[in-house]
Each structure stands twice: as structure tokens, then as C-alpha cells.
């Protein structure tokens, strides 16, 4: 029932540091019950209902597992290893929406002035200029570059409005990474990711994660800032109709500002990654 291509991907399931001994975290993946725990030897394991172990990777502070047969390694974020960065796990946000809608929303900037008012955007600075979108042939990832947007308060370490530049990257069907101008270090990028765990086609756990050049702001404030942003997004995501992401054109009306979303949807469709998607206009 669930396409093989979907089964063969890697999915985030927990924060490694918070994974305790059996029974650990009892959760769901692609509609199936699943358990994440640390065994007697201290190894983190992921088991399905029948007790069989799934392939596991620990990366970016999170536990990733593949319910099928992994066709490739989990993506990497080389920037995260640069010295001087702070890695921040932001906990988890449960959202009653398609995991694909959660990723698509993360790729979207046009909503900043209306959903993250006076934080990530503000009227009248609503224009989304032309930017570039392409599929990277070597890694088969969706990339959007040269995205620029006016931002009243781009990050905790930013004061006053600035023009912020972004790059967006979709390295896996339910993960997205954004690179944004770093107010503290011009020329460098802050890196923010969301790792989305598909519990079902209409329910997901979103794990935001950051790798920042910011050694001023207290950890709690950084996490609180990110959580506030995601709670604002949640009020949108739980109120989109239909709940599944429409992959066929005709149901929704994209404009030039939606080029990343269009590319993401096409990429999902071409690869048969349809869990959380709807193919025919309802």
C-alpha cells in the first residue's frame, strides 16, 4: 500500500540525547507503531511492532530510521561541522497536518509578513523577488537560491530591519534546511532545519534544529524563539484544505513566489513520494 520509494527513505524519530532505556519513546512511523530506546549496551535501537530492528543513523542530534531498505546514506549538512557553531535542538512540535505540507510551509517566504508579523516579515515589505530553483543532479535535491526578503527581526541576534538572503534545500522528502544571512557574521550562513516525522498521512512531529553563529543569546531564548515561530505556522498547517498536499496542478494556484513549492511537488511526484499527498483534484 505504501509505495516502496516512501518506505526506503530515512525518517527522524527522536532526539538522541533524550532517548532512554526500554520502553523508550513509543511513537508511530508511516502509520505503524514503533519504539526508540537505548539497549543495555547503550546503543540506540528502533523496533517495529514485531520486534524487528530497523536500520538506524544518528545524525544532527536526532535518531533516524528507515522502515524499508535504504537506497542511500542520509544527507549531510557540512556547514554544521564548522567550528564555532552552536547546535540547538529545539524539541518537537506535534502538528495535525500532512508531513509534506509542513515541509512546503517551511520553504515558503511569502507568508512571513502575515503569519510571523513583525518578526520574520512586515507589511508593506511583502514583495518576493525573482529567485532561482533547481534540482541538483549529483545529490537529487531541490534547491532555491538568491531568495531575498525584508525582515524586521531576522533572528535573536538581529536588531532592526534588514534585507535577509536565504537558500532553501530539500534533501529528503520530509526534511528541509534553510541557510540565511547571519547578522553576527556577514558572509556566513545560519543553518536551520526541520526534520519531519510522518506519524500518519495527516499527523506529524516536527523537529526543528539549528546550527548558529550566536554565542550571546541564551539557549532557552533561542528555543523559545523557534517554538514561537513554529506555533504560528501550526495555526496555518492545521487549517489548510485539503489536508493532503495536492500534487496535481489545478487544485491550487501557484505564482512566481511559489516556485520552490512547485519544484518540491514535482520532485515528490516524479519520485513517487506520495505519502501525505493527494494525486487527483478532489
Amino acid at each position: 500500500m505504501i509505495p516502496q520509494a516512501v518506505q526506503d527513505c530515512w525518517y527522524p524519530l527522536a532526539m538522541a540525547a533524550l532517548t532512554g532505556p526500554y520502553p523508550g519513546r513509543a511513537t508511530q512511523l508511516l502509520g505503524q507503531p514503533i519504539r526508540v530506546f537505548r539497549d543495555a549496551a547503550g546503543t540506540i535501537r528502533v523496533q517495529g511492532d514485531a520486534g524487528a530492528d530497523l536500520p538506524v543513523i544518528l545524525r544532527f542530534g536526532h535518531v533516524w530510521a528507515c522502515p524499508g531498505t535504504p537506497q542511500r546514506d542520509l544527507f549531510t549538512i557540512p556547514e554544521a561541522d564548522h567550528p564555532g557553531r552552536r547546535l540547538v535542538d529545539c524539541g518537537v512540535v506535534r502538528v495535525k497536518c500532512s508531513p509534506l505540507r509542513a515541509v512546503e510551509n517551511f520553504l515558503d517566504i511569502a507568508h512571513f509578513p502575515f503569519v510571523h508579523t513583525d518578526i520574520l516579515g512586515a507589511e508593506p515589505h511583502t514583495e518576493v523577488g525573482r529567485y532561482e530553483v533547481h534540482i541538483r543532479e549529483d545529490t537529487d535535491e531541490v534547491w532555491a537560491t538568491k531568495v531575498r526578503f525584508h525582515q524586521p527581526q531576522a533572528a535573536m541576534s538581529a536588531e532592526g530591519g534588514i534585507e535577509t538572503e536565504y537558500m532553501y534545500r530539500v534533501p529528503a522528502p520530509t526534511a528541509a534546511v534553510l541557510y540565511k544571512t547571519c547578522p553576527a557574521r556577514p558572509g556566513d550562513w545560519d543553518v536551520i532545519g526541520i526534520f519531519v516525522q510522518p506519524l500518519t498521512e495527516e499527523l506529524c512531529d516536527v523537529w526543528p534544529w539549528m546550527a548558529l553563529y550566536d554565542d550571546v543569546t541564551p539557549q532557552a531564548a533561542l528555543i523559545q524563539f523557534q517554538q514561537m515561530i513554529f506555533l504560528q505556522d501550526r495555526s496555518i498547517l492545521e487549517n489548510q484544505i485539503p489536508r493532503l498536499l495536492p500534487l496535481d496542478p489545478g487544485m491550487e494556484i501557484p505564482t512566481q513566489a511559489d516556485l520552490t513549492s512547485v519544484a518540491y511537488r514535482r520532485w515528490l511526484k516524479r519520485k513517487g513520494l506520495t505519502y501525505g499527498a493527494q494525486m487527483v483534484a478532489a
Partner: protein
């Protein structure tokens, strides 16, 4: 609602005074979620609760002047339903094909009525009664009717003279089916009736019906 051979598509969706200028509220007509809003100059509209851009509920949006804006990306629709601005592209004139999907709506006797576009019959008359309040119940319209045998069905709901909270009152309950087995009652009463007493009577009624449904 089908009553006595007469068919009307009008469903009460609120009391006029609860939807003031500049406000948008959720509505529902025959299983379809709606956004009902009133412009600054008082024009009332009932639309499907779905923005054509990316499907966000329009009932979460905001009214500015004579337009309703979607909360997600700020696309704004005029009272004619046409999209008239896309903030991400301020210089773009939106194509005429981008529009909100409208249902018919009308107001009479302080009640907001909604019907499928172009298929409505005459408005149910509730003349001579005064709007009291709206309240939601965990019960189906049939269960509400069964609890009030003194009322008779008419297009739009139930009406008649009953004793409520120990007081005789001319009651009209306009019934609107919501999702998940809930019904919204839009209540009107006689001009001489004590609104506070009737209102309290309705709350007692709700309690007893919901207990009956749960039992």
C-alpha cells in the same frame, strides 16, 4: 431542510448583530465549511472556507475595508469574489479567474441566511420575533425536535409556543447542522418575552438534551 413538502436551501448561519462590519466568522451549509464576513460598509458575503491559493481557511483571515484577506499570504478578495491583490507580487494585476467561491446569502429579521448559489427558494419568514442568541449543542436536529414536542417544523427550524424555564414563550429555533454531530441553534423569541429567562431556559434545555444524547 424538508418540511411539509416545501423545500428550501436556506440555512440560518447566525444573527446579523453577531457579524458586525469588519468581521469574518466560520459558517456551514450542507456539510460545506464557510467564511461569512461583512465589509466596512456593511456588505455581507458567504464564501467557501478555502483560499484558492493554497487552501487556507478564509474564516481565519481578516477584513480590510471592502475586502477579505487570507491570513496565509494576504491574498485579498473583493466583495465580488475576485482576487484583487497578491502581496508577494504588488505590481501584478491578478487574473480574473482567481476568485473565492460564493454562496448566496441574505439577511431578514436579524437573521443571516445562506443557500447554494442560485438555487434558493423564498426566505423562511420569522417576522415579528426578536433575535435572542446562538448556541451550539452536541445533538442532531432530530434530537432537538424530539425534545420539544410543542414546537412544529417549519422551513429553517422549529417554532411555536412552549413553556421554557417555567415561562410561556413564543420560541423559534433556527437549526444549523455543524460538523461532528453538533447543531447550532439560532434562537428568536416573542417581543414581550423576557430574553434573560428564555436564554436561561435554552441552557437548561441544552443540558437535558445533551444528557439524553449521552445516555
Amino acid at each position: 431542510m424538508k418540511t411539509g413538502g416545501r423545500v428550501t436551501n436556506w440555512v440560518a448561519n447566525g444573527l446579523s448583530r453577531d457579524v458586525v462590519a469588519g468581521v469574518v466568522v466560520p459558517g456551514r451549509w450542507q456539510g460545506v465549511d464557510l467564511a461569512i464576513w461583512r465589509s466596512a460598509t456593511g456588505v455581507l458575503r458567504a464564501w467557501k472556507d478555502r483560499c484558492p491559493h493554497r487552501g487556507m481557511r478564509l474564516s481565519h483571515g481578516f477584513v480590510r475595508g471592502e475586502g477579505l484577506s487570507c491570513i496565509y499570504h494576504g491574498w485579498t478578495y473583493g466583495t465580488d469574489g475576485r482576487c484583487r491583490s497578491i502581496p508577494a507580487h504588488p505590481d501584478l494585476v491578478p487574473p480574473a479567474a482567481i476568485r473565492a467561491e460564493a454562496l448566496d446569502c441574505a439577511e431578514a429579521d436579524g437573521v443571516i441566511w445562506v443557500a447554494g448559489a442560485g438555487e434558493a427558494g423564498p426566505l423562511p419568514a420569522v417576522t415579528g420575533l426578536v433575535p435572542l442568541r446562538s448556541l451550539a449543542l452536541h445533538a442532531l436536529p432530530g434530537q432537538i425536535a424530539a425534545a420539544l414536542p410543542g414546537l412544529r417544523l417549519f422551513p429553517g427550524g422549529l417554532r411555536g409556543v412552549v413553556v421554557l424555564g417555567g415561562i410561556q414563550t413564543s420560541l423559534c429555533l433556527l437549526l444549523q447542522e455543524l460538523a461532528r454531530g453538533q447543531t447550532m441553534i439560532h434562537a428568536l423569541c416573542g417581543p414581550q418575552d423576557d430574553p434573560v429567562a428564555v436564554s436561561r431556559g435554552l441552557e437548561d434545555l441544552r443540558r437535558s438534551i445533551e444528557q439524553g444524547v449521552a445516555a
